[in-house]
């Protein structure tokens, strides 16, 4: 149990996907302009990330390894993610219209989100067991959502701040990301 908690904290805060692994930077800068969008995107990422990690873990250890074709993992994992995103999109559309309205446009974007593919590789390469894989994917998703929400809150304020012309927009967002990263170093003593 302690071990699972350590994995969760490490994935969410210490080895945060965005700030220390550089995964998922495109949505981090693209969707972080409004808080509500950022939270919707984060929820969509948590869902897809957990589902993709579970399916790709099962495929990797029960199909690819026994047949000795683990070199196919790149092709298989991206296909798993692409089809999962399609299935999730259809299911949400049929069952929950208001959730679909909130998450709908973000789901297709997630197919080419390197955070999702990255976390499946990290789980397989760290040789986590099944439960650890689920916890690590959840932790990574929560960490991603947390940072995305903080960033969008700061950027809503930055829009009305007096920033030098050359830094306006993306450059100042990079500077904010740097300072957030320094703040997140403080978590490194926790585990």
């Amino acid at each position: 149990m302690d071990n699972l908690f350590a994995i969760f904290i490490s994935m969410a805060l210490i080895n945060n996907l965005v700030l220390s692994k550089f995964l998922g930077l495109c949505p981090f800068f693209g969707v972080s302009k409004k808080l509500s969008n950022a939270v919707s995107m984060g929820l969509a990422v948590i869902m897809v990330m957990t589902a993709a990690s579970i399916v790709s873990w099962l495929i990797f250890f029960y199909i690819l390894i026994p047949f000795g074709i683990d070199y196919m993992s790149t092709v298989i994992f991206i296909l798993v993610i692409a089809s999962l995103v399609q299935i999730l999109e259809l299911t949400i559309k049929r069952t929950n219209a208001s959730l679909y309205n909130a998450l709908g446009i973000y789901l297709p974007l997630i197919t080419t989100n390197c955070a999702v593919l990255g976390i499946t590789f990290i789980n397989v390469r760290s040789e986590f067991n099944f439960i650890e894989t689920i916890v690590s994917a959840l932790g990574a998703g929560v960490g991603f959502t947390l940072v995305l929400a903080i960033m969008s809150g700061i950027r809503e304020r930055l829009d009305i701040a007096d920033v030098p012309k050359a830094f306006k927009g993306i450059p100042v967002a990079f500077l904010v990301a740097m300072m957030l990263g320094i703040c997140f170093i403080a978590f490194s003593g926790m585990v």
Partner: protein, 204 residues
């Protein structure tokens, strides 16, 4: 001929994938800790980009419109697997330091973006030049960033084990924050702001 040179220049200057379109940020920032890594990543991206543009351009008249994106992704994933296995066999140390960012070339937006926006609509020679231009543009950006990060973070400039330059003062007291992830954000932020201030890039 003129058109082909125009395609090449487009990727390097006018729509540089990293500095102007802001695509492929993840690998650019993550592996730019040393010039060796930057060159390795550029070579891998260049190979995948050129090959995928050639293949996509060759099959552009036979691919049904509806399934074109999955087809492109499978082509790219196959090419990335080739690069990954080749690098593990012949350059194990480079493969280790690039880590998961080699398989992650699959979801690099530059490659899928060029396949969809350019190669699926143009002839093979144009597609090759476009891929070369975009690849070189990516390489220039990642090399500049890794140059500053390596100099400021370690004080030395080592390229494939040969020491080229040692910054006086810095090599005894380097600033390791530039090797840490935060340094990447700082360097690209100042680089973008400088390019905008000097008018190379339009701000906005």
């Amino acid at each position: 001929m003129k058109e082909i040179i125009e395609n090449l220049k487009n990727g390097i200057i006018k729509s540089n994938p990293v500095l102007i379109l802001l695509l492929g940020l993840c690998p650019t920032l993550a592996v730019s800790t040393s010039i060796d890594n930057a060159f390795g990543m550029t070579a891998a991206v260049l190979f995948v980009l050129i090959s995928s543009n050639i293949i996509v351009s060759l099959i552009r008249n036979y691919t049904p419109q509806r399934v074109r994106i999955p087809v492109f992704i499978v082509i790219i994933a196959t090419l990335v697997t080739i690069v990954d296995l080749t690098m593990q066999a012949f350059l194990p140390s480079l493969s280790k330091s690039l880590g998961i960012f080699i398989p992650l070339i699959v979801v690099n937006c530059i490659i899928l973006g060029r396949a969809e926006a350019f190669a699926s609509k143009n002839k093979v020679p144009n597609a090759i030049m476009d891929a070369l231009g975009m690849g070189i543009g990516f390489g220039i950006a990642i090399t500049i960033i890794s140059f500053f990060r390596q100099i400021l973070g370690t004080g030395n400039l080592n390229v494939f084990g040969n020491e080229i330059f040692q910054a006086p003062g810095l090599s005894e007291n380097p600033m390791p924050i530039f090797i840490l992830p935060m340094g990447a954000f700082l360097v690209i932020s100042i680089l973008l702001a400088t390019l905008r201030y000097s008018g190379v890039i339009k701000s906005g």
